[in-house]
């Protein structure tokens, strides 16, 4: 009962985690996503422009869900989601283009490679500890990834083009509607993963690591493990999101995944509501959709003002984002973010 007490307790708790998941709540979260997504399908079929925006919204919602997982639950300020996404995207595009691997295998491989890199990042971030140093170190890591990919002959500054559309066995998702439905399935799975995490003991304990680490350690849990899990699962989703991006757009370039993209994912997560399951979807609709709406009114190139302005306003007045604020307003009994939609 001395040296291995900590890990012994923690392992036992992880083992009893899965039966502890509130499956009904997870089913509700997943069902809502799928239902609203399907209701939007006629819009996609009706116009190629709205269809294009919808595809972008869903891809960014998947990536932001992954990012939200590391940012929200353990409160680890990892600032390299774009690097993880492009690692997933490049892995999957190269596997399909060069080795002819079936798409779904390539996509999962992209996610796994991103998750492994995410594991190293999580390990370093936990060792570094101070939030500020984690931000700068991960920003530096993102720059290194950018330099490596632009210098690597297989990718280069122009990136990988002619990436084939996603396929699943005999099905090829070629038209916008087909791609939308495929992406919707992927988004639903991602939301499912986040919801299971959120509604399990692991998720609750991960939130606890951001509140009081010492207290958590004193009752026999290992806070590092929960942070690690959140970052690795988040990196997996980011990698898969990067793969979807590459194959739906047919192109992935290192220049498209630098600090700008990180900030964009950050804004989506923060505006939608950090540590809310559906926040990234709301954020993606607002942040991808709004600039398009503004462009329709002829005020082109307003995107930097919208993104910048939203960041400042949200930080000053709505730190919990749109969904977080809404939940607070509906049920004003303190922090209910992890008891989503009870």
């Amino acid at each position: 009962m001395s040296a291995d007490t900590e890990s012994g307790f923690a392992n036992r708790n992880l083992a009893v985690d899965m039966p502890g998941v509130e499956w009904r709540a997870v089913a509700k979260s997943v069902g809502i996503t799928l239902l609203l997504g399907l209701l939007a399908a006629p819009l996609v079929a009706g116009s190629s422009y709205i269809g294009y925006v919808a595809l972008t919204v869903v891809i960014f919602a998947v990536m932001a869900s992954g990012y939200n997982l590391m940012l929200g639950w353990p409160n680890l300020l990892v600032f390299c989601p774009a690097a993880l996404a492009i690692i997933g995207g490049v892995t999957s595009a190269l596997l399909v283009n060069v080795f002819g691997v079936p798409y779904l295998v390539a996509m999962v491989s992209g996610g796994v490679v991103a998750a492994v890199i995410g594991g190293f990042i999580a390990f370093s971030a936990i060792a570094i500890g101070s939030s500020f140093e984690i931000i700068i170190a991960t920003l530096a890591f993102e720059e290194i990834v950018y330099y490596v990919f632009t210098n690597w002959h297989a990718v280069g500054p122009t990136g990988i083009s002619n990436v084939p559309a996603p396929t699943a066995g005999p099905l090829t998702f070629q038209t916008q509607l087909e791609q939308y439905l495929f992406l919707l399935v992927m988004l639903t799975i991602s939301i499912g993963i986040v919801a299971v995490f959120d509604r399990s003991l692991t998720g609750t304990l991960t939130v606890a690591t951001s509140e009081n680490e010492d207290l958590l350690r004193s009752i026999g849990y290992n806070p590092k493990k929960y942070k690690f899990i959140a970052v690795v699962v988040g990196a997996l989703l980011l990698g898969i999101g990067g793969s979807l991006y590459a194959h739906v757009n047919g192109l992935i370039t290192p220049g498209g995944f630098t600090l700008d993209q990180t900030v964009f994912l950050l804004v989506i997560a923060v505006v939608g509501g950090i540590r809310t399951v559906h926040g990234p979807i709301v954020g993606a609709i607002v942040l991808v959709g709004l600039p398009e709406v503004v462009r329709m009114f002829g005020l082109s190139n307003m995107k930097p003002y919208i993104i910048g302005g939203m960041l400042v306003v949200v930080v000053l007045f709505f730190p919990r984002g749109i969904l977080g604020g809404l939940y607070d307003a509906i049920d004003n009994r303190g922090d209910l973010s992890w008891q989503f939609w009870k």
Partner: protein
């Protein structure tokens, strides 16, 4: 000959990093505000100068004064309007909020500069300094390069004096160490922070004018320098003016020599790798309460030699 020329090039490049890092030292190093919009203040100073001298036709000293006042004022508005509201949040929330808000501000300013003055790079002449040059020992430097070198040294000397020998600087150090205790001891927290932030902003504005005169003026001319400034201030020892100056010149000289053998991509990648290694090393070596990596390592080494003796 190549050696001397490279060394001079390195010193000039280092002066540019040091120039930017000087104003960043007070805001990020001393005041603990990781201001991602610092590059926008830097470019803003240059645009104000450009507007005043080239477009309006004022003489250049007036242009510098206008730039200092305008950017100082902008800094005051930012500090009062945004940062002052965030100081009371907990450590990780504070860092997160500052970084988010300043990233947003950087977006807004860069876009605004581009819309008002246009995207295309602009030449910014500064008192005919670009054309004058000095030759010594086979190396040629323009008068402007010399001025930048002198000015960056002067900035650090000025900062050192402000931080260590004025009431504002000493008050600032007290506030950063313990805000409540400083307030209790009669330091005017709000005013000290405001003065320091305005000072840092104005210095960034002047640095921007010099940088624009050396290269060209674009809305994002500071963004690549910002990440270098983080490297310089962090490796120099956070809050240490002399450390930041040395780190700035060292970085410039390293780049000037490394470019003889490596492509620039590898050079930048190695710099970032060093930064990450520094954080990891710090995390592994330092124990609770220590904050000086150099002293800690010396301490451990001394411990080892004592054991082996």
């Amino acid at each position: 000959m190549v050696l001397l020329e490279t060394l001079v090039n390195g010193l000039i490049q280092g002066s540019i990093y040091a120039l930017f890092a000087a104003s960043f030292t007070i805001i990020f190093g001393v005041m603990d505000i990781p201001n991602m919009a610092h590059a926008a203040l830097f470019a803003g100073g240059a645009y104000v100068f450009y507007q005043a001298t080239i477009l309006t036709g004022l003489p250049w000293p007036v242009g510098i004064v206008v730039a200092v006042i305008a950017i100082g004022l902008l800094g005051a508005i930012l500090e009062r309007g945004i940062f002052a509201r965030l100081y009371d949040r907990t450590e990780s929330e504070y860092v997160f909020a500052i970084i988010l808000a300043t990233l947003g501000l950087a977006r807004i300013f860069e876009r605004a500069f581009a819309q008002v003055w246009g995207h295309e790079p602009k030449e910014v002449p500064l008192a005919g300094l670009q054309s004058g040059s000095l030759h010594a020992a086979g190396v040629t430097v323009t008068s402007l390069e010399l001025l930048v070198f002198i000015f960056s040294i002067a900035s650090f000397a000025f900062l050192y004096w402000v931080i260590n020998h004025t009431e504002t600087g000493l008050g600032l150090q007290a506030i950063v160490q313990d805000r409540d205790l400083a307030r209790l001891k009669g330091v005017n927290v709000g005013r000290t922070f405001l003065i320091a932030f305005v000072l840092g902003s104005s210095m960034a504005g002047v640095a921007g004018v010099l940088n624009a005169a050396m290269f060209s003026l674009t809305p994002d001319m500071g963004s690549s320098l910002l990440i270098k400034a983080f490297i310089v201030v962090i490796l120099g020892g956070i809050g240490r003016v002399v450390g930041a100056a040395v780190a700035g010149y060292a970085l410039g000289i390293y780049e000037a020599f490394a470019i003889l053998y490596l492509s620039s991509y590898y050079i930048y990648a190695t710099e970032f790798a060093v930064l990450i290694l520094f954080f990891l090393l710090k995390a592994v070596v330092l124990s609770e309460g220590e904050d000086d990596l150099g002293a800690a390592i010396a301490d451990r080494v001394r411990g080892l030699t004592e054991v082996t003796r």
